[in-house]
């Protein structure tokens, strides 16, 4: 994967709480954010997949990120949401503890991940409210226990 070195390339992030940490994904990945989602249970799913919902005629699985990332207590103001994210040409719903905001950074703002971060965290940026951990959703779901 040969990426050209463009340190001031903008990086727009959508951040959300999972446990006591804030994770961020590329805002282009976000399709929509749903306030209340009741997935239909489907037998035989892995533990971290709650079920599926039908969105515009497509079946979208709902993955509970709280089962895949370190536990913790989110701030009391956080309201649980489902972030519908694009993975290639399909979508997956990510259940999170709350939204933390959208903010623009540059690639040069990204610091390598701290020691002890979960594997799919590729780095971190310092936002106004504290560190946002850049989460590689594909790596997270690929790594997820089957």
């Amino acid at each position: 994967m040969a990426a050209s070195l463009t340190p001031d390339r903008p990086l727009e992030l959508c951040a959300f709480w999972v446990g006591s940490a804030v994770y961020a994904i590329d805002v282009a990945r976000v399709d929509e954010v749903l306030p209340r989602v009741v997935p239909l249970p489907v037998p035989g799913l892995p533990e971290h997949v709650e079920g599926v919902v039908h969105l515009q005629g497509a079946t979208v699985p709902i993955v509970d990120l709280r089962r895949l990332l370190p536990a913790g207590t989110p701030p009391r103001t956080a309201k649980p949401k489902v972030v519908v994210a694009w993975l290639g040409r399909r979508r997956v719903g990510l259940r999170v503890d709350g939204l933390a905001g959208v903010q623009q950074f540059h690639e040069q703002d990204v610091a390598p991940p701290a020691q002890g971060e979960p594997g799919p965290v590729i780095g971190a940026v310092e936002s106004r409210e504290g560190p946002w951990r850049l989460l590689d959703v594909r790596a997270l779901l690929r790594r997820a226990p089957a």
Partner: protein, 183 residues
């Protein structure tokens, strides 16, 4: 920081990115037929009041004449009552509630319910949670449409609408997601 560059390239969304090896999810039996194959979409058309609706035909298992439902104490809309369908307890729902249409006053289950009008039917749908009934005013029949005649809504919250058909100069027909009507 070559590795960080590569990680950032993987982090950014790209529609053609490799999603192999990701969680495999069972396809829902209610998944609409892929329109890409160019086959006609078959719909079961029905009416509620003066408005025309349809659901994908693959989700409908049978059509019943309206019959007296068994009431459930303190049942809340859209649940009307239950039906014993050859030994399978089938809940019956009022689609008007989710569609924001006015609902008929008065009970529709139990001994006090008035007999339904002659054209009223119950569509028995196959859902992920078992059979469910949909109380409709009139069944129009099966309609085949070319996928390109099904106007799909833009992405975003669509309120359960899978598309709209405008054909033959008649009233537009709204294709709704049956799962959404029951929720």
């Amino acid at each position: 920081m070559g590795s960080l560059e590569a990680a950032l390239a993987a982090f950014r969304y790209h529609p053609e990115e490799d999603v192999g090896g990701l969680i495999e999810l069972p396809q829902s039996p209610l998944e609409p037929e892929p329109a890409a194959r160019g086959e006609d979409v078959q719909l079961l058309a029905f009416a509620l009041g003066s408005d025309e609706y349809a659901v994908p035909l693959t989700t409908v298992t049978e059509i019943l004449r309206a019959r007296r439902l068994t009431e459930i104490p303190r049942a809340r809309p859209p649940l009307l009552g239950i039906l014993n369908l050859r030994g399978t307890i089938t809940p019956v729902y009022d689609p008007c509630v989710r569609l924001g249409r006015p609902t008929e006053p008065g009970p529709r289950a139990g001994p006090d319910a008035p007999p339904a009008a002659r054209p009223v039917r119950i569509l028995v749908l196959r859902t992920l949670l078992g059979p469910a009934g949909l109380w409709v005013d009139r069944v129009r029949g099966v309609q085949r449409v070319r996928p390109e005649h099904l106007e799909r809504p833009p992405s975003g919250p669509t309120g359960g609408v899978m598309g709209v058909i405008r054909q033959g100069g008649g009233a537009p027909r709204t294709v709704v997601d049956p799962e959404w009507l029951l929720r």
